[in-house]
C-alpha cells in the first residue's frame, strides 16, 4: 500500500484495458489539438499531459448540462427524479489542483444541510487517480495558493510519469483494487521530490480582500475584460448553475446548467434591476469569490492555481496577475492609510 509501483509505458494499454473491464475509465484524449476527457477505448490514441488540460474536471462530476428530473405534460404532470448513475469509474490523470477543486466542490455540494445527491453519487462511484506534476506550465500558479504540484493529497491513487514508466501509489482504500493490477510491479523508490519555485505573486488575506470591496481599482481591473463566461466554465471551483425546464413534444426535463456571474444576465432580477450591471462589479464578484467569500463560507480560498482561466481567456488576461495587482494595492493602501473612499455610485 505505501509502496510505489512501477508500470512500464508499453503496458499502459493493457493495464487500462484490464481496468476498463470493471470500471468506466476516463482518460485524457487529444482532439483537434485540444485535450479533453473521454472514456477509455483501446483503439484511441491517448496520453497524460504534464499539466492541466483546459477543460475543467468539473464536467465529470457536475456536468454543464445535467438533467435532474423528467416529466411528461400529461394530465398528472408526473415528474420523476433522474436516477443517479452508480457504475464504478476511474478518472485518471487529474492534477493536484484539480483534486483541490474537487475537494472544494465537496464542501459546496456535500455539506450536510444541502446535499446534491447527483453530485454525491458521481463522487461515490469515482476513484480518483491523480497525476503528480513534473513541471509547472506557464500559467500554473498553484504554489501561490499553498499547493504543491506533486502533492498526492485527496487522491485515491497517485501516479507520476518517470522516463519510460509510470510510478503508482495507492493512497486510500478505494485505490487498493487498482494497485492490485498484475501490470504494477512494486518498487522501492519514490519519484524524485522536486523543489518547486516559490509563488510568483504573494496575495493578501481574505479579510484584506474584503476591505477592497468599495475600492476604485475594480474599474481598472475590469477595463478590458469582456465579461464572457469562459473563465468560470473552465474554473474547477465555479459551481453556479441555473435550473431550467426544457420541453420537446410534450416531454420535458428539468436540468441544471452552468451559469456564470460574469454574464450580465446572471444578476438580473425580475422587474429588470441588475445588481451587478457594470463589468467592474462582476469582475469584483469573481475575484472576491475566489479569494475571500469562499474562505468566509468554507474556510478555504477557492482558487487552486490551475491557471485555466488564463489559458481560456480570449484576451489572455492573467487572473493571478490580477490578484497580485490587487494585493499590491492593498499594501499601498495600508501604507498610505488612505482608501476609505465612498462606495462607487456606478456599482
Amino acid at each position: 500500500m505505501s509502496k510505489w509501483h512501477k508500470l512500464k509505458r508499453t503496458d499502459l494499454k493493457d493495464f487500462l484495458s484490464r481496468l476498463a473491464e470493471k470500471w468506466e475509465v476516463w482518460v485524457p484524449y487529444r482532439v483537434d489539438g485540444k485535450w479533453e476527457f473521454g472514456i477509455y477505448a483501446p483503439d484511441r490514441e491517448m496520453d497524460f499531459p504534464e499539466s492541466v488540460i483546459h477543460v475543467s474536471m468539473k464536467n465529470l462530476f457536475f456536468p454543464k448540462r445535467r438533467p435532474i428530473a423528467k416529466y411528461e405534460e400529461d394530465s398528472k404532470w408526473s415528474m420523476q427524479p433522474v436516477a443517479a448513475d452508480d457504475k464504478p469509474r476511474i478518472v485518471m490523470g487529474l492534477h493536484p489542483c484539480d483534486v483541490a477543486g474537487i475537494e472544494y466542490m465537496d464542501k459546496v455540494f456535500l455539506n450536510s444541510e444541502h446535499k446534491d445527491v447527483l453530485y454525491e453519487s458521481e463522487r461515490k462511484r469515482t476513484v480518483l487517480v491523480g497525476m503528480l506534476c513534473s513541471e509547472m506550465a506557464d500559467n500554473c500558479h498553484c504554489t501561490d495558493r499553498g499547493l504543491t504540484p506533486d502533492s498526492a493529497s485527496g487522491m485515491d491513487v497517485a501516479f507520476a510519469k518517470v522516463d519510460d514508466y509510470y510510478l503508482f501509489k495507492g493512497m486510500t482504500d478505494r485505490g487498493k483494487e487498482i494497485m492490485q493490477s498484475e501490470y504494477l510491479k512494486a518498487v522501492g523508490d519514490a519519484p524524485e521530490k522536486r523543489k518547486w519555485p516559490a509563488g510568483k505573486y504573494a496575495i493578501a488575506s481574505p479579510e484584506e480582500f474584503m476591505d477592497m470591496y468599495d475600492d476604485k481599482i475594480w474599474h481598472e481591473l475590469s477595463d478590458i475584460c469582456l465579461t464572457c463566461g469562459i473563465c468560470t466554465y473552465a474554473c474547477p471551483t465555479c459551481v453556479c448553475f441555473l435550473v431550467t425546464d426544457e420541453k420537446f413534444k410534450g416531454k420535458g426535463e428539468r436540468v441544471t446548467v452552468w451559469d456564470s456571474c460574469q454574464l450580465q444576465s446572471y444578476s438580473r432580477m425580475a422587474g429588470g434591476h441588475n445588481t451587478r450591471k457594470t463589468p467592474a462589479s462582476r469582475v469584483r464578484n469573481r475575484t472576491l469569490d475566489k479569494f475571500a467569500y469562499s474562505h468566509l463560507r468554507y474556510g478555504q480560498i477557492s482558487c487552486t492555481g490551475c491557471g485555466r482561466c488564463v489559458m481560456v481567456c480570449p484576451l489572455k488576461r492573467s487572473f493571478p496577475q490580477l490578484g497580485a495587482r490587487l494585493s499590491e494595492r492593498i499594501r499601498d493602501k495600508k501604507k498610505s492609510k488612505a482608501g476609505t473612499g465612498a462606495r462607487s455610485k456606478e456599482d
Binding site: 405534460e73 400529461d74 394530465s75 398528472k76 404532470w77 420541453k247 413534444k249 410534450g250 422587474g271 429588470g272
Partner: protein, 652 residues
C-alpha cells in the same frame, strides 16, 4: 393559476361530420390546464354562449378556448360572452377547426387528430394571454371626401347636413366629375348639368364644406378617428382669392392649342382656362406645359389684362396636412382608351369616337355647341354604329368584367342621335343587353321600338375606312347567323369603365385593398359594401366598381351615414393589441422607428438612457418593430413572443 374552459363546436355537421368532437373533448379534458370541457352543436348560438357564461360562473374558469370556425368569424361573439360575465374579453382564444380543419381534410381520423392538436395548442396559448383593456382615443370629427364627382358631392353634402365639417378634395380644377360631362342621363333623359349644377353650387356654399380643387392626396398617416392626410395643391398660377372668374384671360390667351379634357379631347382650348362654364369654382388654371410665359418667359398677356391682378407666375405646389377622423374614397372611374383595339382603328380614324366623346358632341356646351357633326369634316352623320363592350367582357384584349353602364348609355345615345338627326339610322352592335335597373328595360325597348334603332347581336370584327369617307363596320347578326357590314358615317365605341390611373397608388397610401383590375375592395361584398378593411375609410361610387349615377349617389349617402355614425361618439375605441417598449430592456438603437409605418415610435429619456417609446394612439399593432428588436424589448399585446412561441412549440 389558469383554468381553461374548452368548448368544442359541432357547427351542425360542418365540423362534426369530419371531426369526432367527443373524442376531442375526451382527449383534452385531462390536460392540466383544463378546468372544464364541453361540446355543443352551435357554440355561436345563444345557448352556446350561455354554456360559456355558465362555466365561468359555476366552474370558475378564467380562460376560454372555443374550437369552432375561424376567429375572423366569431371571435368578437365569444369575447362579448366573456365580457358579459366580467371576464376580460382578451382571455379567449379560438381554435379554427372548421375552415382550417374539417373543411379541408379528407380523412376523418386525420381531421380529428388535427383538431385535437389545434385545440391543445390553443389551450397552451390562452394561458399566456393577458387581460387587455380597450384604448380610448379622442376623435377629429371632420371628414375628407377624396373625389368631387357626384358620389363625393353627395357624401359631402350629407355629412355637412349632419353638421360635421367636410373637406371635399378634387384633383381637377372643378368638382362635378364625369357627370358634368354628360349631356342627358338615362332613363329619364333629364339634362345632366341641370340636375348636377345645383348640387355643385350647394356644396360650394355649404358652411360645413371646404372644397379643395387642383389637389391630390400625397400621404395618409394615422388611423380611424385621427388620420393625418397630406394634401398637395398643384400650382395653378391663379390666385383664387383675387380671381373674379370673368374669363377675359381665357379669351385673350394666344396659346389656343391645349387639348380640351372636358370635351374629351375633341377640340382645343387656351393655356389658361376655366374648365367648363358651370365649373365650381369658376377659377381658371394655367397649364404650365403650354403657357409661353412659364415656358419661355414671353407673352404674359393674361397678367396684363387681368382686372383683379390674380395671375401669379411663380406659383408652386403647396403641401398641407389636415387632420380628419374619417375618409371617403370617391375617386370614380376613367373611360378606357380604345387604342388597344387596332381592328377598330386604334384611334387613327377621327370619326370612330368613344361614348364620352359622343356625349360631348351632342352637348350644348360641347365643341360643336350641341350640333352633331362628325369630327373629321363636320358632316352630319346619317348612319352611326354604336359598338358595345369595347374593352368589357373581353378578357383577351382588356377586361373580363362588364362595365355595367354602357348598355344603358348606348340606348340613350341612340335616342339622342335620333333627336339630333331625325332622318339618321342608328345601329347597335351588342352581345347582350343588360338593363336591370328601374325602368331601364323600358328605356331600351323605347330605343328599339319607338326610335327604330337596329340592334345587331354580335361582336364587331373590324372597322375599315372607305375611300368615300365612310367607315365599313364588319359585324355579324348571330340571331340570323349571318355576317353583315354597315357603312357608317361615324362609329361610337362604348369604351370600358376603368379605375383611375393612380387608383393603386392611392390605395397603397390609404392601406386599402384593391382587386386585380384596380377597383377598391369593400370589406364584405354583401354585408359591408361601403366599408374597407381599414377602419374609418369608406368607398363611394365607381372607384369600387362600375356604377351608374343612382347607385353612386346611394353609395355617397351610405358612406356619409357611416361617417356620421362614427362621429356620433366622442372617443374612439381602439384595439389594445398594440406594441409597448420595456424601457429597461431597450438599448435606444431606434432601429424600430425606421420600420414603423405609422411613425408611432419616438425617442424618450429614461434615466440616463435614451430609449424608444411607442405612442399608443398611433400604434396599429402590426408588430414590425417587434420583429426588428433583437433584444426583445418590444412586446405586442395579443401576439406576444410568449403566445407565438407557445403555438410553435406546442404541436405534437
Amino acid at each position: 393559476m389558469a383554468k381553461v374552459g374548452v368548448f368544442v363546436c359541432h357547427c351542425g355537421v360542418n365540423i362534426a361530420a369530419k371531426v369526432d368532437v367527443k373524442k376531442v373533448v375526451d382527449t383534452l379534458k385531462d390536460m392540466p390546464e383544463v378546468g372544464f370541457a364541453e361540446e355543443y352543436k352551435f357554440m355561436c348560438s345563444s345557448p352556446g354562449q350561455e354554456l360559456i357564461r355558465k362555466a365561468i360562473k359555476d366552474n370558475s374558469i378564467n380562460r376560454v378556448v372555443v374550437a369552432a370556425c375561424s376567429p375572423r368569424m366569431h371571435l368578437p361573439t365569444f369575447q362579448k360572452a366573456l365580457a358579459s360575465e366580467g371576464l376580460n374579453p382578451y382571455l379567449v382564444s379560438m381554435a379554427n377547426i372548421r375552415e382550417q380543419c374539417s373543411w379541408v381534410t379528407d380523412d376523418p381520423d386525420e381531421a380529428t387528430q388535427k383538431a385535437i392538436d389545434l385545440v391543445a395548442r390553443q389551450i397552451k396559448r390562452v394561458v399566456h394571454q393577458d387581460p387587455l383593456d380597450d384604448i380610448y382615443v379622442p376623435m377629429t370629427k371632420t371628414a375628407i371626401v377624396i373625389g368631387g364627382g357626384i358620389a363625393g358631392i353627395q357624401a359631402a353634402l350629407d355629412i355637412a347636413d349632419g353638421n360635421r365639417k367636410v373637406i371635399l378634395l378634387e384633383k381637377s380644377p372643378s368638382i362635378g366629375g364625369r357627370m358634368a360631362q354628360l349631356d342627358e342621363t338615362f332613363p329619364t333623359l333629364d339634362c345632366s348639368q341641370c340636375i348636377l349644377t345645383p348640387k355643385m353650387v350647394e356644396a360650394a356654399q355649404h358652411p360645413n364644406i371646404e372644397i379643395r380643387v387642383n389637389s391630390e392626396v400625397k400621404k395618409v398617416d394615422g388611423y380611424v378617428g385621427n388620420f393625418e392626410v397630406t394634401i398637395e395643391k398643384k400650382a395653378t398660377y391663379v390666385d383664387a382669392q383675387k380671381c373674379i372668374g370673368c374669363g377675359i384671360c381665357q379669351e385673350k390667351c394666344p396659346v389656343k392649342i391645349v387639348p380640351d379634357e372636358f370635351n374629351a379631347g375633341l377640340n382645343t382650348r387656351a393655356a389658361i382656362a376655366i374648365p367648363f362654364p358651370q365649373a365650381v369654382p369658376a377659377i381658371p388654371v394655367i397649364d404650365p406645359e403650354y403657357c409661353r410665359k412659364i415656358k419661355e418667359d414671353k407673352c404674359g398677356v393674361c397678367a396684363k389684362i387681368c382686372p383683379a391682378e390674380a395671375i401669379v407666375f411663380d406659383d408652386a405646389p403647396k403641401q398641407e396636412t389636415v387632420s380628419v377622423g374619417a375618409i371617403i374614397v370617391a375617386t370614380g372611374y376613367k373611360e378606357m382608351d380604345p387604342a388597344v383595339y387596332t381592328e377598330y382603328g386604334g384611334k387613327k380614324y377621327p370619326d370612330v369616337i368613344t361614348g364620352m366623346q359622343f356625349e360631348r358632341l351632342v352637348s350644348s356646351t360641347g365643341p360643336t355647341g350641341g350640333e352633331l357633326k362628325r369630327p373629321s369634316d363636320g358632316v352630319i352623320p346619317k348612319t352611326v354604329v354604336f359598338v358595345q363592350c369595347v374593352g368589357s367582357r373581353d378578357e383577351s384584349k382588356a377586361h373580363a368584367y362588364c362595365s355595367g353602364i354602357c348598355c344603358m348609355y348606348t340606348a340613350k345615345h341612340t335616342m339622342l342621335y335620333k333627336h339630333h338627326v331625325p332622318d339618321g339610322q342608328g345601329y347597335v352592335s351588342y352581345i347582350d343587353v343588360r338593363a336591370p335597373g328601374k325602368t331601364y328595360e323600358e328605356f331600351v325597348r323605347r330605343a328599339i321600338e319607338e326610335e327604330g334603332v337596329r340592334y345587331l347581336r354580335g361582336r364587331v370584327a373590324k372597322i375599315r375606312r372607305l375611300q368615300n369617307g365612310k367607315y365599313r363596320v364588319y359585324t355579324e347578326d348571330t340571331l340570323v347567323g349571318r355576317a353583315v357590314h354597315v357603312d357608317a358615317d361615324m362609329v361610337v365605341l362604348a369604351s370600358a369603365v376603368e379605375p383611375q390611373k393612380d387608383a393603386v397608388d392611392l390605395a397603397q397610401m390609404l392601406g386599402i385593398a384593391y382587386d386585380a383590375d384596380g377597383f377598391y375592395t369593400e370589406a364584405h361584398p354583401k354585408l359591408k359594401p361601403i366599408e374597407t378593411a381599414s377602419a374609418g375609410i369608406f368607398l363611394a361610387g365607381a372607384c369600387q366598381g362600375p356604377k351608374d349615377i343612382p347607385t353612386s349617389v346611394q353609395q355617397g349617402s351610405a358612406a356619409a351615414s357611416k361617417v356620421l355614425a362614427l362621429f356620433a361618439r366622442d372617443t374612439m375605441v381602439k384595439s389594445p393589441q398594440i406594441a409597448t417598449v420595456d424601457p429597461t430592456a431597450c438599448t435606444g438603437c431606434l432601429t424600430c422607428s425606421y420600420v414603423c409605418h405609422y411613425s408611432a415610435i419616438e425617442e424618450k429619456e429614461f434615466g440616463k438612457h435614451r430609449v424608444a417609446e411607442i405612442i399608443p394612439g398611433k400604434c396599429q399593432g402590426c408588430g414590425a418593430c417587434v420583429a426588428t428588436c433583437k433584444g426583445k424589448a418590444i412586446t405586442l399585446a395579443g401576439f406576444s413572443d410568449d403566445e407565438i412561441y407557445e403555438e410553435i412549440v406546442s404541436c405534437k
